[in-house]
């Protein structure tokens, strides 16, 4: 249909797997989502060659925005080498022939599940989130018609009931991931299951942030440099997680850490969940040392 259908794509499949009509349909939804930040735009989600819940929404969004010159990075829980990330990266490498990378700074499109990279994103980059449940009001209102009405009328007050329950039970807001935010002072949004540690990174981010939910058939977006505010109480302000330890590998003090059990006698270590960031820091630390040795 277009020049994209070049010899570079795999025979029998269109560039990036989806046909051009589907991509246009998804791009239209993305444009609307960007125009109304935080608003969930319905789209005709397609069957993908992997099950719903494995990132089909994110894959469809990525397939619609990716071009032959893009450089793709895929992460899952901050890591580039987990099953999901490897499979999705291989899928796009096969169907688009684009260059893939593990470096945040090199990538033009980053598809992610559960994390925003520690390296600050740059203008021009696109980050695509895989979203399991897009509707932030779902837990208190099971009816879709009613939640849409609540969004339309901006009736978000009851969302604080959930935070109230946290404080009443645990003495602090214990919601630690998928922490609800207000986008651009208007729409309540579920930022996909990223830890609340990453919420501040969404605020005024220079990159374009796209969210795709395949099973629920919704796309929403946070355009570059948009206000994203996490919900909180005046006397219980929003806080991010903190750790007593530093990363055991690279020594970073300000990153999101994973706890890794090392033996069955209580041994454990904390390491950065962002494998690229951690690896870069370790390399930078050892490189000058080896130069000095030579």
């Amino acid at each position: 249909m277009t020049g994209l259908q070049s010899t570079r794509s795999r025979r029998g499949y269109n560039f990036a797997y989806l046909d051009e009509h589907t991509k246009r349909m998804i791009r239209r939804s993305i444009l609307k989502a960007v125009a109304v930040p935080g608003y969930q735009v319905p789209f005709a989600s397609r069957e993908m060659p992997l099950p719903f819940g494995w990132g089909t929404g994110g894959i469809q969004v990525t397939a619609s925005v990716i071009g032959p010159d893009d450089i793709l990075k895929v992460i899952d829980q901050g890591s580039d080498d987990t099953t999901n990330a490897v499979s999705i990266r291989a899928f796009f490498a096969k169907t688009t022939n684009v260059t893939t990378t593990e470096k945040t700074t090199e990538a033009t499109v980053i598809q992610t599940r559960h994390r925003i990279p520690e390296t600050p994103l740059q203008p021009g980059q696109i980050i695509v989130y895989q979203v399991p449940i897009p509707e932030p009001l779902r837990w208190l209102e099971p009816r879709e018609a009613e939640t849409r009405k609540m969004h339309a009328l901006e009736e978000y007050g009851t969302m604080h009931v959930r935070l109230y329950e946290d404080i009443a039970k645990y003495g602090r807001i214990s919601t630690s991931y998928d922490y609800p935010v207000i986008v651009n002072g208007r729409y309540l949004m579920r930022p996909s299951p990223i830890p609340k540690f990453d919420n501040p990174k969404m605020n005024n981010n220079p990159a374009l942030q796209l969210f795709g939910a395949g099973r629920e058939k919704r796309i929403y977006a946070v355009p570059p440099y948009t206000d994203v505010k996490s919900l909180d109480f005046e006397d219980h302000p929003f806080e991010i997680q903190q750790w007593d330890e530093d990363c055991a590998l690279c020594g970073a003090e300000d990153t999101f850490l994973d706890e890794i059990v090392t033996d069955d006698r209580g041994g454990r270590m904390y390491v950065c969940s962002d494998s690229d960031y951690c690896g870069e820091r370790c390399a930078a630390r050892t490189a000058p040392a080896s130069e000095a040795a030579e």
Binding site: L140, L153, G157, Y164, K169, F233, D235
Partner: protein, 261 residues
């Protein structure tokens, strides 16, 4: 200003609700004044609940109008105002006590959260203040404060009903609708709840529309009574007057059919 000069709080004019060819209620007009408790009695299927739903903006009537005296804009027709302002009214100036507490409470949210919900819905964002109001209201409805963080599922029917009442009254509404508030409760719990309701209504100068088939409840709470039958009002008057000296044959039947212990 006297109450008369202020005018009624709610005015219903020739309200009719048809379900297809069946009439739910026909040509009903009534006024509710500030501080007044209006009882609507009648047998099952007489259109009490249809009427209550119509005047509480939950069911659009086929004909007629329902007007409410808003705090800022005077008398406003409920079904002509925007949905946003109607819903705002419902969670600020109004309350609705359901027969079954399960319909009126969030069963997955603690007692304190249930009471605080309306405060948060109108923009309260201070946890300490919300918590304090919740405690105050739990005390008012005779709750043990130690149970503020317990789930409604762990409460008895009477406690759930009291919690539902507290949840509705927390942000100072002016008009409360009640649909058989003592319906599923045993007699002693009923008596306690009625006592509480009576005290709260007079203390807060609430206007109440209470639908019941139980004449004893009506006698205890209502100042004025409407007797309904087959979707129409057959008799209306002061409670004692209607119950002690019923004029319409149906009211006479209703009053005489009450079991005397």
């Amino acid at each position: 200003m006297s109450r008369r000069e202020q005018g009624p709080l709610l005015r219903v004019s020739s309200l009719t609700k048809n379900y297809g060819s069946i009439a739910g209620c026909r040509n009903i007009s009534l006024d509710i004044w500030p501080g007044e408790v209006l009882g609507i009695v009648g047998e099952s299927g007489s259109g009490k609940t249809t009427l209550l739903n119509c005047i509480s903006a939950r069911l659009e009537p086929t004909m007629g109008s329902v007007e409410f005296m808003t705090r800022t804009d005077g008398m406003v027709d409920l079904y002509k105002m925007s949905e946003a302002s109607r819903r705002f009214l419902m969670r600020t100036d109004w309350g609705f006590v359901h027969q079954s507490p399960r319909d009126g409470l969030r069963m997955g949210v603690s007692a304190g959260g249930n009471i605080g919900e309306r405060l948060m819905a109108v923009g309260d964002r201070h946890y300490g203040d919300i918590r304090k109001s919740a405690c105050d209201w739990l005390e008012k409805v005779e709750f043990d404060l130690g149970r503020i963080d317990h789930m409604p599922t762990t409460f008895s029917g009477g406690m759930q009903q009291r919690l539902q009442i507290a949840r509705n009254l927390v942000n100072g509404p002016r008009l409360i609708f009640m649909d058989e508030p003592t319906g599923g409760l045993d007699v002693s719990v009923q008596a306690r709840l009625l006592d509480l309701l009576r005290a709260l209504v007079s203390e807060l100068k609430l206007s109440v529309v209470i639908v019941t088939h139980d004449l004893a409840v009506a006698r205890l709470l209502a100042h004025r009574l409407m007797v309904m039958r087959r979707g129409e009002v057959v008799e209306t008057g002061l409670t004692d007057q209607v119950l002690d000296d019923p004029q319409h044959p149906y009211s006479q039947l209703l009053v005489s059919s009450v079991l005397q212990p």
